[in-house]
């Protein structure tokens, strides 16, 4: 018996979503097994997650809050991954973005009392810029010196974490605690609950403007990737750098630009987090959004619009997972999901079957004799 894997000539429309859903189900089943093995109750855990994430309007709002940084970093990864640039540094770029946005208030770059309609855009700009710079480093190293971007982005994540710590333990520390003082209210992104005085039903809803930024960014990234010359170049390079060069694409410049844009999106995520949720800069405010973003991008199959859905799902997992014991469960589930998705992807792209003969040979290439005669 041997495994025979042949590429599919055509993929039925239903297959890809079906495989994705099946992968999620299998992943939850496997994770459930592990939870049961370490003495937990998987059914209760999952019910808890659903209840805690979608049980009421209030928690749905909380889920969207968690989904916001995931959405923006997920888009950052999607943009880069489409070009097969492995930006694993969305986490670091998010942290730098948060730092940049905070700097506007804490240095302060703009005087105290600056009205919100100036302050907020300034913070967005600073956050995106700081993220872009953090993305530019691996981008430039990759484009100009051929340095592996995976290692550089990862190392920069650790550096970014220490950079935040340097500030919140030092110059910006609030009374020796590992956090800055709270931002002035002008620096807060508006939340639904802020309008509760006008519409009482909105009371307690924490979802903030950042989520809208995220949805807007998703549409923008989709437009860029699918409908613009720039996106065409990105897809071309992602599929075949040699073909892209042949088509006249300036790959080096594109790498740098895409990395910077990717970093800017992640930086925006950091800004939205400090300005919309935490309202200050503090140590370890991100539970690894930038890493989860990698899985989200993959789950969405690098489709910016699907990133919206995927980030909401993972927002729910992170929100509800905080209360699940043991604490590693959400992280583990993410890993299992990613593996199940990878395997599901194989079944979408290839026809996999067991063949009785012991023939290791003969797994003919597509087009059979055409290749064998070539």
């Amino acid at each position: 018996m041997t495994l025979r894997i042949e590429p599919r000539m055509s993929v039925p429309r239903w297959l890809s979503p079906a495989a994705t859903i099946l992968a999620l189900v299998v992943a939850l089943a496997i994770s459930g097994g592990v939870i049961a093995f370490v003495g937990g109750d998987p059914i209760r855990s999952y019910l808890h997650i659903v209840g805690a994430a979608f049980g009421s309007v209030g928690v749905i709002s909380d889920t969207l809050v968690k989904a916001t940084p995931l959405l923006l970093t997920g888009l950052a990864c999607t943009l880069a991954f489409r070009m097969r640039l492995w930006n694993i540094g969305a986490e670091g770029q998010l942290l730098l973005g948060a730092w940049g946005a905070s700097a506007v208030v804490l240095f302060p770059l703009l005087p105290a009392g600056t009205p919100g309609f100036i302050l907020i855009p300034a913070m967005m700009l600073a956050g995106a810029l700081a993220g872009a710079v953090w993305g530019l480093i691996p981008g430039a190293l990759r484009a100009l010196l051929g340095v592996n971007e995976i290692i550089v982005t990862l190392m920069l994540n650790y550096v970014a974490l220490l950079w935040i710590q340097f500030w919140v333990f030092g110059a910006w520390s609030e009374g020796g605690f590992q956090q800055s003082e709270q931002f002035p209210p002008e620096a807060f992104l508006p939340r639904l609950t802020d309008f509760a005085s006008a519409v009482p039903a909105l009371g307690g809803l924490t979802v903030h403007l950042g989520f809208l930024f995220g949805v807007g960014a998703a549409i923008l990234v989709w437009l860029v990737l699918e409908r613009s010359r720039w996106g065409y170049e990105i897809r071309l390079v992602g599929d075949s750098p040699e073909a892209a060069r042949y088509a006249g694409v300036d790959i080096k410049r594109l790498i740098i630009v895409v990395f910077a844009a990717s970093g800017a999106l992640a930086g925006l995520a950091g800004m939205s987090e400090v300005s919309g949720v935490v309202h200050r800069l503090q140590d370890r405010f991100s539970p690894g959004y930038g890493y989860t973003a990698i899985i989200i991008a993959y789950l969405a199959r690098y489709d910016p619009l699907k990133v919206i859905i995927a980030s909401i799902l993972f927002g729910a997992l992170i929100l509800a997972g905080r209360e699940i014991q043991p604490s590693g469960v959400p992280a583990m589930i993410q890993g299992v999901i990613l593996f199940c998705l990878i395997v599901a992807d194989v079944f979408v792209r290839y026809r996999v079957r067991l063949v009785r003969t012991g023939a290791a040979a003969g797994a003919g290439a597509p087009g059979g004799s055409a290749t064998s005669e070539a």
Binding site: G146, P326, I342
Partner: protein, 322 residues
């Protein structure tokens, strides 16, 4: 601070990176990029430590740590070798999985307290050599000595033996190797597994020898990734990997030790714990990895020696290959 003590501690710390890097070299030489080193190390670390806690036997812990690393690496092997999935994505997934699983399994281990460790001893005669002796052969863990043996052994295996010849062929030109009757898939499985074993060993080296204890995913603190970076710097040679690993070990120790000094020449040490400048100093190893990878890439480009040609590419018989 005592330089020989610092270096000796650096060697011990570097041994962690050494095992992980040599393991990754084996996997990459066969053409499989396994970015899951961090996850495999954490699996090894937790398996080794929890076994040592519950049985009191560090050796048993070591064996189970290697097994844990090896077994989890097989997931990556199946997915990338047989199912031809993207090696980068699969490696990342392995990191997530290993990290999450280790955290789940390590729940409560942080409070385990004192446990069994790997034995520490000096090598007679060699320990008496000036400078070299105290650094390399005095009061080191048995795992450090294993590292000394592993490096030349790995080099010899890769460059002077038939299995090594076949390993290199599979990583450079799998189609050519296949045509000569070498089983490409089996070779890759074996070396991915070996990589997993060594990553597990690296994890156990932390929890059973170098800095015993379980600190959740901070136990490795990115050292799995540093090992992956070292492989590029080492240009896939175990000898260079050893050099890099020990160097990094020393630097990591230096960053820790410098915080224990009150003042130098009457100037107060700005890196005392609690001082925020400590965090800038803490960046040093990570920044150094970037520098080292840049240097490695430059040198590789100049000397035209690079990654194994088939690295990252699934092998499918009959398809246009490398």
């Amino acid at each position: 601070m005592d330089v020989t003590l610092l270096l000796a501690a650096g060697i011990a710390t570097g041994t962690v990176l050494l095992f992980a890097a040599v393991g990754e070299i084996f996997a990459e030489r066969s053409g499989i990029l396994n970015l899951g080193v961090e996850g495999m190390m954490l699996m090894g670390a937790v398996a080794g430590f929890s076994t040592a806690v519950s049985t009191g036997n560090a050796w048993l812990g070591l064996a189970l740590a290697m097994l844990a690393g090896g077994l989890i690496s097989l997931i990556h092997a199946v997915v990338t070798i047989h199912l031809r999935a993207d090696q980068v994505v699969s490696g990342l997934a392995l990191t997530f999985l290993g990290t999450g699983l280790a955290r789940v399994l390590g729940e409560g281990l942080s409070n385990a307290g004192e446990t069994a460790r790997m034995p520490v001893f000096s090598i007679p005669l060699l320990a008496d050599i000036p400078i070299v002796g105290p650094v390399f052969f005095h009061d080191q863990s048995v795992l450090v000595y294993v590292g000394y043996i592993l490096v030349p052994l790995a080099w010899f295996w890769i460059n002077r033996t038939r299995p090594g010849l076949h390993l290199r062929a599979v990583g450079e030109a799998p189609a050519a190797a296949d045509a000569q009757g070498i089983n490409v898939y089996r070779t890759r499985y074996v070396y991915v597994f070996v990589g997993g074993l060594l990553a597990g060993l690296a994890g156990a080296t932390i929890t059973l020898a170098v800095s015993p204890g379980w600190f959740s995913d901070l136990t490795t603190g990115g050292r799995g990734w540093i090992a992956v970076g070292l492989v590029i710097f080492a240009q896939w040679s175990p000898l260079r990997a050893a050099f890099g690993a020990y160097l990094f070990g020393a630097i990591t120790r230096f960053v820790l030790d410098v915080q224990g000094v009150q003042s130098v020449f009457g100037i107060e040490n700005p890196f005392l714990p609690g001082r925020s400048a400590t965090f800038l100093l803490g960046m040093l190893p990570y920044l150094l990895v970037i520098v080292v990878v840049v240097l490695g890439s430059r040198e590789a480009a100049r000397k035209r020696v690079g990654a194994p040609a088939a690295l990252g590419t699934p092998y499918v018989r009959g398809e246009r290959g490398v």
